[in-house]
């Protein structure tokens, strides 16, 4: 992929340079007054420079590109990890089939192993793009698309949706967290567990706020009565790095701000402002922070 890019870059640079030099030369050279413009049609010159040479270069680039095209398709690797990705306006639902794990906006994957992403959308078209990992693939309404990722370097890679999907198209990022296989397995086991019971006190009060308030109608926390499917699954919210699809970091301050009035952070998102008293809000945050 990188080799292909540098090849194209080099050819482009060369072609551009040739044209620029020729144009400048034609424009600036001084011709003796006696020299008349040459009047032949120049058909042969244009045939060679305009048809034959470009055709050779184009065929070359095209042929060189074909293996790369094959490489981004299905690698037919039997040991694939399948992850389901469901696009929403404007966040990503990530689930790991067979493990019961559902999370949002953060895709954990093991290094050194092919990951097969199944891309679907709950509403409008989206597009999955992690620039450092792989090419774009759209999430198209009524279809399932497939994408294969593989990386050997652990790290956090930022990605963003790339097909215009409405008001908050700009704030619909995600993070791909590539981890060594053991670490990934530990993470998956952790995520598969239901939410821990609150240690008591403020956090227990927070759980009551969550279950009795409007939160539960949209959000799910496995292990509690909250089972809404409209917003992201919050079971392990505190383990995630960002809130609201990469919009703000997941800190206490932003979390509180987001709950009380998310519209000031990401105008137009589907979550209405929550008129909670400060005590209730504090309790709720305390509970959410236990969801590791």
């Amino acid at each position: 992929m990188a080799g292909l890019w540098w090849l194209m870059f080099g050819i482009s640079l060369f072609v551009t340079a040739v044209i620029v030099v020729l144009v400048l030369w034609a424009a600036t050279r001084r011709r003796r007054p006696g020299v008349r413009a040459r009047m032949d049609t120049g058909q042969r010159y244009v045939t060679i420079t305009g048809i034959i040479l470009p055709a050779i270069v184009l065929v070359l680039v095209y042929v060189i590109s074909l293996p790369t095209l094959r490489a981004i398709g299905d690698p037919k690797d039997p040991d694939q990890l399948t992850i389901d990705l469901l696009g929403h306006q404007w966040w990503w639902e990530v689930s790991y089939p067979g493990s019961g794990v559902v999370t949002a906006n953060e895709i954990h994957m093991p290094t050194g192993r092919t990951v097969h992403l199944r891309l679907r959308t709950a509403d409008v078209n989206h597009s999955f793009w992690a620039p450092q990992l792989n090419v774009k693939t759209d999430l198209v309404a009524g279809r399932t698309n497939h994408l294969w990722l593989r990386t050997d370097r652990p790290g956090v890679y930022r990605g963003q949706r790339a097909e215009y999907c409405g008001l908050q198209h700009a704030r619909m990022a995600f993070h791909v967290v590539a981890q060594p296989p053991a670490e990934f397995a530990a993470w998956l086991t952790g995520q598969a567990r239901p939410a821990p019971a609150p240690p008591g006190g403020l956090a227990a009060q927070g759980l009551r706020v969550l279950e009795s308030g409007s939160c539960a109608s949209c959000h799910a926390v496995r292990g509690t009565t909250a089972n809404g499917r409209i917003g992201p699954d919050l079971t392990h919210l505190a383990s995630r790095r960002y809130l609201a699809a990469g919009t703000v970091p997941n800190t206490r301050g932003y979390l509180g701000g987001w709950i009380s009035n998310s519209q000031t952070i990401k105008p137009g998102n589907r979550m209405p402002p929550q008129p909670l008293g400060s005590e209730q809000l504090q309790a709720l945050i305390a509970y959410l922070e236990t969801l590791r």
């Binding site: 144009v23 793009w129 279809r143 963003q160 215009y164 198209h169």
Partner: protein
């Protein structure tokens, strides 16, 4: 920008220049032309006034369903888009038909197909593209409107509909539209470069072939806008190959222009500076365009700022530079005034610098992963510097465009009087007064080459033609119809008189569209009926003035025979003269 400026802008140039370049007096259908103009105006009113009411279309220019469907965009906004574009399509289609019919039937005698100016070829190919490319767009928009308003299910997956159908139909229009925008501009460049290189354009037949080829191939590459949709790989390889082939005709044109300059004597007039700026910018847009033909690369950078940079190099560099150059070039012909050279040079350099500063950094921010259509982004992603440069460039670009406007305003205000041919041009428009009289040419010339103003035979034909009744056509509003291929004179036609009928037709259609848009279907139907009646009035058979006076037949044939005899005599005289020389 695309629908109301870039696409129709060629029609402005075409309407004024086509009859002049062809050596005739008007378009083939002048009243249809008026209708085209009014429909364009009213469609523009619909689309732009939606901004005032806060109901502007809000689904992006390619308006992908389901985002634009009834579920996710309630309200009238996307109806403005679909109906407005359908209405605009009426104007564009009738304009295209007019261009083609004019170019086929109204060329000056002797302007055989291989003597037609390249700019005319460009306009004709563009018009043909529109004839075939608008139907998919119109079909898609009609389906969208029906989905939104009357509950059909074309784009609703839960009822068997298919959202990718929209993308196919849209890009089946959308890619040819790129050439609809660029081809007339390339035609302008092909008009400017020979004039300022002091020699005819190089490889004329190849250039014409290239334009026709680009028109045809452009219908086979639409899928390269959809490489990330998840289509089968085999079809991707096909469309990838087609997308690479489409660059070859552009290569032909590029080297023909550069070769013309190299073999000629370049005069650095202001229009020529714009044409040269175009060459440099367009080649950059071209090489990045080739990259988009490579599927894996396309999938990486599509919908990123890289694509924004690419299409601005193609559309701003490829269309706006030549258009401004073309305005400078034909300004003296249109207004009868010369433009200031200093102002023109400043405007060029400011726009050139501002343009590159705005759009070049976008290549880099795109490669760094910045997606397009975002109104904000978090800091710390290495995009900040490039966006800052782009913003600065935008101000510079604005300054340049203001200087350009100022130059034109100054020319109107106190510019020097323009002679008929200020640049030493090669085509027929320079043979008549600046600005041209309403009849364009007092005498219809006979064309002997592709650059009639540079060959003595064509120049002499203005004087020779005065002896023939069918060239002077002085008995009222008349013009000459010639054959399609060889431009042999066929018949003289009388032009229609002034009439408000096209305007009323456009108004009634405007009301019909408004009725549909606002859901007042009674108004829509009533206005539609009125439109039919007005068109009936428009097309009611007329008798020519002369016909009303006396029976034609015999007398017409006598006149014709007399003219034919005179012409034969003139031919003989010329061959004798030629032999003498």
């Amino acid at each position: 920008m695309i629908f109301l400026f870039a696409t129709p802008m060629s029609f402005g140039f075409g309407n004024f220049l086509l009859p002049l370049l062809l050596g005739t007096r008007d378009m083939a259908f002048p009243r249809l032309n008026a209708f085209t103009y009014w429909v364009f105006t009213f469609a523009g009113v619909i689309l732009f006034s939606s901004l005032l009411f806060g109901r502007a279309p809000n689904g992006g220019w390619f308006a992908y369903v389901p985002l634009t469907g009834p579920k996710y965009q309630p309200g009238i906004n996307m109806d403005v888009y679909s109906l407005g574009l359908l209405f605009l399509g009426v104007s564009t289609t009738s304009g295209s038909i007019n261009f083609i019919a004019t170019s086929l039937k109204l060329r000056a005698p002797g302007m055989t197909l291989n003597r037609v100016p390249i700019f005319v070829w460009a306009l004709v190919v563009t018009a043909f593209l529109l004839i075939f490319a608008l139907p998919p767009l119109n079909t898609a928009n009609a389906m969208l409107f029906l989905d939104r308003r009357f509950g059909t299910r074309f784009f609703q997956p839960d009822a068997g509909g298919d959202v990718v159908l929209w993308q196919h139909l849209f890009w089946l229009f959308g890619h040819p539209d790129v050439y609809i925008i660029v081809l007339p501009a390339l035609g302008i460049v092909s008009a400017i470069i020979p004039t300022f290189s002091r020699r005819p354009i190089m490889a004329y037949p190849l250039l014409v072939l290239a334009m026709v080829a680009v028109g045809i191939i452009s219908f086979g590459v639409w899928v390269h806008h959809m490489f990330a949709v998840g289509l089968p790989q085999l079809s991707l390889t096909f469309f990838s190959a087609a997308s690479m082939i489409v660059t070859i005709p552009s290569g032909i044109q590029m080297f023909a222009w550069v070769g013309t300059m190299l073999m000629g004597r370049v005069v650095l007039g202001v229009p020529m500076m714009w044409a040269m700026g175009f060459l440099v910018v367009f080649v950059i847009g071209g090489v990045t365009g080739v990259m988009f033909g490579i599927v894996p690369f396309d999938q990486q950078v599509t919908d990123s700022y890289f694509v924004v940079a690419h299409f601005h190099y193609v559309l701003f560099g490829g269309a706006v530079f030549p258009v401004i150059g073309g305005v400078f070039y034909w300004w003296p012909k249109t207004t009868g005034r010369l433009t200031g050279v200093r102002g023109g040079q400043w405007s060029f350099w400011l726009v050139f610098a501002g343009f590159n500063l705005t759009f070049f950094p976008m290549h880099i921010s795109g490669l760094l992963g910045m997606p397009r259509r975002v109104y904000t982004y978090p800091g710390g992603l290495d995009w900040d510097l490039w966006n800052l440069l782009s913003s600065l460039g935008a101000y510079l670009l604005l300054a340049g465009l203001l200087v350009t406007l100022g130059t034109f305003a100054h020319s109107l205000w106190k510019g020097a009087q323009a002679p008929p041919d200020p640049w030493g041009g090669e085509t027929l428009e320079w043979a008549t007064a600046s600005p041209p009289r309403p009849y364009n040419f007092p005498v219809i010339p006979t064309v002997h080459s592709v650059h009639p103003l540079w060959d003595q035979g064509s120049l002499d034909s203005f004087a020779e033609g005065a002896r023939f009744k069918d060239r002077v056509l002085a008995e009222g509003h008349e013009l000459l119809v010639t054959s399609e291929l060889d431009a042999e004179p066929e018949v003289a036609l009388e032009m229609p008189e002034h009439t408000p009928v096209p305007f009323f037709t456009a108004v009634s259609l405007f009301l019909a569209v408004l009725g549909l848009l606002l859901g007042v279907y009674v108004l829509a139907v009533a206005a539609g009926v009125v439109a039919v009646l007005v068109i009936g009035r428009w097309l009611w058979p007329r008798w020519s003035r002369r016909e009303a006076g006396h029976a034609p037949g015999e007398k017409a044939r006598e006149t014709a025979e007399r003219d034919a005899a005179a012409e034969q005599e003139a031919e003989k005289e010329k061959t004798e003269k030629g032999a003498g020389a």
